[in-house]
């Protein structure tokens, strides 16, 4: 009985801390006025209309999706090759060094990384600061561990070294081995890594605000500015980011599933 009450309390707490703010944002984005009352008054879709009319917000959303998608693709390519190399060639020592390197982007705060990037890529006559390419690089470094880790677990679970020996003894070339055996069997890891890194890149604020310029701003950066416009407008912008994020993740998961079914069925 006590246990049950405790569980219910935990669930309520979870709702009030995690879901309630999101829900309030959703409600706020549809209200005409929200000032001095617990809930907004009136109903309007005007905030959304305004949002889509402002080129800055549309461009920022496009930029965010573009950078997040590229981050996932490049993360995936780097991670598959790295994980393969570390698993096949890696001695215990190399693996320990690898694990440590993987921790670095998690251990170093994004603010520090952002400052470092500005210092490193800003010279007289040549500066990468303000370009979306620099932000893409920053996001790749920042999210890479979250693609690598599930892949590392994945390759160990399928006991890759023996599978590769089987491939080699059957006369398969390295390319055939990678294409027909390695990649299809790493797909579950790639999908879970992709979900994670896409969401991280899409919502990332600290690096984006430091590294981007006016033409390469991502959505979280302009969202921050939206709070200076009006509450309803900011709520609409927030709701849009949440919806985009959720839809993309569902889409990615479905894509991953159909892809692995296709490979399994071919």
């Amino acid at each position: 009985m006590l246990r049950r009450a405790f569980t219910v309390c935990l669930i309520l707490l979870y709702f009030s801390f995690v879901l309630a703010p999101i829900l309030l944002m959703m409600i706020g984005s549809l209200g005409e006025k929200w000032f001095g009352t617990l809930l907004p008054t009136g109903f309007t879709l005007d905030w959304y209309a305004q949002l889509f009319r402002k080129a800055m917000y549309v461009r920022a959303m496009t930029m965010s999706l573009w950078i997040a998608a590229l981050t996932v693709v490049i993360d995936g390519a780097i991670s598959i090759l790295t994980v393969y190399a570390v698993h096949v060639l890696g001695s215990r020592r190399i693996r320990a060094i690898f694990d440590f390197c993987l921790l670095l982007p998690i251990a170093i705060p994004p603010v520090v990384m952002g400052l470092g990037m500005i210092q490193a890529y800003n010279w007289k006559g040549f500066s990468l600061v303000g370009t979306w390419q620099l932000l893409l690089g920053a996001h790749i470094v920042y999210t890479l561990p979250f693609m690598m880790r599930p892949l590392m677990a994945n390759i160990e679970m399928i006991r890759w070294s023996t599978l590769e020996e089987a491939c080699v003894s059957l006369g398969a070339s390295l390319w055939t081995t990678i294409r027909r055996v390695l990649i299809p069997n790493l797909l579950p890891g790639v999908v879970s890594g992709a979900l994670m890194t896409f969401a991280m890149s899409l919502g990332e604020f600290q690096l984006a605000v430091m590294v981007t310029g006016s033409r390469s701003q991502t959505f979280p950066v302009v969202l921050y500015q939206a709070f200076y416009v009006s509450t309803g407008f900011a709520c609409a912008a927030t709701a849009l980011l949440i919806l985009t994020s959720l839809l993309s993740l569902v889409g990615l998961a479905l894509l991953g599933r159909s892809f692995s079914e296709e490979i399994a069925g071919s």
Partner: protein, 364 residues
């Protein structure tokens, strides 16, 4: 030489890991179509030896030949060896059929030939009706059958099996053991089979190579290894044995614990001449099934009055057709296997006389 077209030869092969020899100066020849098992305790170098044949390990000295050709510098994928792994190593993303077809596709065989061959092989290993199943849908034994078909699909010159049954339970192990033997006999493929299970090796092999500490201890037919072990290690590792350490007195007399046994073969024996013909410290072995309860069915045997051991039953294990009895003789324990149906049931504490024929004693 005849029969070497697809045979395997190891010539003075050694492999070092760090400062220790995994395999040391091993010379061994497997004839074409022969089924040779390599047995030994774990860490004896048997798997390293197999990996040197397949090409995954490179010998530090010596030479490996397949079909008479030196394999130095020949990569694994060109050696045409079929490998069956302990943990099956089927490709999880492919069906049984696709697994079997994979090697043939990788080598660009014509499509029609691949389909025929894959179907035929799946049928041969008894998996014809599960061709569309994924590895995760198959039991361990079924997976290993598919793995065997996959290894044979590329028409290898040599089939290498690395502890293929040790991950399976006893019942499946026993049936699959004889299936492997049948398939090997039908296809006539040269086979090297690595196992730590001496019983498995004895039951399916044409010849058995016993390894110890990276070196070959003894190579011979299962019957030779069983009847005429060359060392105490061989006597102990192969089957169950009683090893009596004593002194050879010469002229077929062996002294043990104040007793003297007649050990020289009295009639034509299947075993080789005892090694230790010079008097001195020696060991005598006698298999448990060669120890017969004296007084039960000795009438038509020529009882040598010397070779009777008097002792006390200190334990017994029912093995089905046989009962294994632990007999304490002068404080030393000997094992004897008695037909379970024979005579009065023995009880722990009963006195018992055991007799063995001089030709059943083997001197080391």
């Amino acid at each position: 030489m005849n029969g070497w077209k697809n045979g395997v030869e190891l010539i003075a092969v050694s492999k070092l890991y760090g400062n220790t020899y995994a395999v040391r100066d091993v010379s061994l020849a497997v004839r074409e179509g022969e089924f040779l098992s390599v047995v030994g305790p774990s860490g004896c170098g048997k798997t390293t030896m197999l990996r040197m044949i397949s090409g995954f390990a490179v010998p530090d000295s010596g030479e490996v030949r397949i079909g008479g050709e030196p394999m130095k510098g020949v990569p694994v994928r060109e050696r045409r060896v079929g490998i069956v792994f302990q943990n099956y190593a089927l490709f999880p993303n492919m069906t049984a059929y696709e697994n079997v077809a994979f090697g043939m596709e990788a080598q660009n065989w014509p499509k029609a030939r691949i389909e025929n061959k894959a179907a035929e092989l799946l049928e041969m290993v008894g998996m014809g009706d599960r061709a569309g199943a994924y590895p995760r849908q198959l039991s361990g034994g079924q997976q290993q059958r598919v793995a065997l078909a996959r290894a044979l699909a590329i028409e290898p010159r040599v089939l290498l099996l690395d502890e293929p049954l040790s991950a399976l339970d006893a019942k499946v192990r026993n049936t699959l053991r004889f299936e492997i033997k049948r398939i090997q006999r039908d296809s006539g493929i040269t086979t090297v089979y690595v196992t730590h299970d001496q019983e498995e090796a004895l039951s399916i092999s044409d010849r058995v190579a016993l390894m110890r500490g990276g070196m070959l201890e003894q190579v011979g037919t299962p019957a030779e290894l069983y009847a005429a072990p060359v060392s105490e290690f061989a006597a102990d590792f192969i089957g169950v044995n009683n090893i009596l350490r004593g002194t050879y007195l010469g002229e077929g007399r062996f002294a043990w614990n104040g007793r003297v046994f007649v050990v020289e073969a009295q009639r034509e024996s299947r075993q080789a001449t005892p090694r230790g013909t010079a008097p001195g410290p020696a060991a005598m072995t006698v298999r448990p099934e060669r120890l017969v309860p004296a007084g039960l069915d000795l009438k038509d045997r020529r009882v040598d009055p010397f070779n009777v051991l008097e002792g006390k039953v200190v334990g017994k294990v029912f093995l089905g057709p046989l009962t294994r009895v632990a007999l304490s003789v002068d404080g030393e324990m000997l094992l004897m296997d008695i037909l379970s149906a024979a005579g009065e049931p023995l009880n722990v504490g009963d006195p018992l006389k055991a007799y063995f024929d001089a030709s059943d004693a083997h001197l080391l």
